[in-house]
């Protein structure tokens, strides 16, 4: 097998690992921490949004395959924002609702966490810009 094929396989594996890592961060860890104690509802949410794992892995693979190409500069920025927007989608746009049954009352609770989600989107964009700068350096060197 030529070194080029081995290199592509390595990039594919690294891309899959990268996608799974970002999925665990944005698709599982952050919703778990944000929703805190409503774990039962979170399980339903995570299962419902499991198809996003495929998207995360695809983006991770594309990110790795295009690593030294100039197109990866805006792409890396964009992927971080996409990850953050998927988190926003998982968390219902920042509106978390739950119903508690405390006899003889039914209590409906609605919490608005959009401020926190906006902050995560902005921080992800900043991280994406820094990540892209490392590619700018690589591209200008080669």
């Amino acid at each position: 097998m030529s070194t080029k094929v081995i290199d592509i396989i390595k990039k594919l594996i690294y891309g899959i690992v990268l996608g799974i890592t970002y999925y665990l961060l944005y698709g599982y860890l952050l919703p778990t921490v944000i929703l805190g104690f409503t774990h039962a509802e979170l399980e339903v949410l995570t299962l419902r949004f499991l198809p996003y794992l495929g998207l995360f892995i695809s983006l991770g693979i594309v990110e790795e395959l295009l690593k030294n190409h100039p197109i990866s500069i805006p792409f890396r920025m964009l992927t971080k924002v996409i990850y953050a927007l998927i988190l926003v989608a998982i968390l219902n746009g920042g509106i978390i609702s739950t119903t508690l049954n405390i006899e003889p009352y039914i209590m409906s609770i609605r919490i608005n966490i959009t401020l926190l989600l906006y902050m995560i989107v902005i921080l992800s964009l900043i991280y994406g810009v820094i990540d892209s700068l490392s590619i700018v350096r690589k591209v200008t060197r080669s």
Binding site: V33, F37, E103, Y105, M107, S108, I130
Partner: protein, 131 residues
């Protein structure tokens, strides 16, 4: 150098998110450990005005949570009260309500409450009596 900046940004982001999230998590812990008495609304005294078919009601709001609540509004059938900020303690207010509205308030038939946890997270709670 950029790797150090990237790690720094990631750590800083985690710290910012945790700091922003902490008031909500502390509030949720307060609610879960003490669901019934974290916020309590009581009718303390009622002074009836038979002429106008109304009553002067002294309400007390007791809050035992550790995170301050802002813009606290409590509404019930035919009446409402508002507090700019509520910290741990007891707050009293006197309102004039109609006799029908007083009955709804005393039985907590339909009550809705809105407030902001630490001024960051708007929360709406509606309480409905079953049966």
């Amino acid at each position: 150098m950029l790797t150090v900046v990237k790690v720094g940004i990631a750590v800083l982001s985690a710290l910012i998110v945790m700091t922003l999230l902490s008031p909500l998590l502390i509030f949720l812990v307060d609610v879960i450990t003490n669901p019934v008495s974290v916020i309590q609304l009581r009718v303390e005294r009622v002074k009836y005005d038979v002429h106008n078919q109304s009553a002067k009601v002294e309400l007390s709001l007791t809050y035992s949570g550790s995170i301050p609540l802002t813009n606290v509004s409590i509404e019930w059938l035919g009446g409402s009260i508002h507090f700019d900020e509520v910290r741990k303690g007891v707050y009293r207010k006197t309102v004039t309500v109609s006799i029908e509205s007083l009955a709804a308030l005393q039985e907590l038939r339909l009550l809705s409450m809105s407030f902001s946890v630490g001024g960051l997270y708007p929360v709406t709670v509606s309480l409905r009596k079953t049966g």
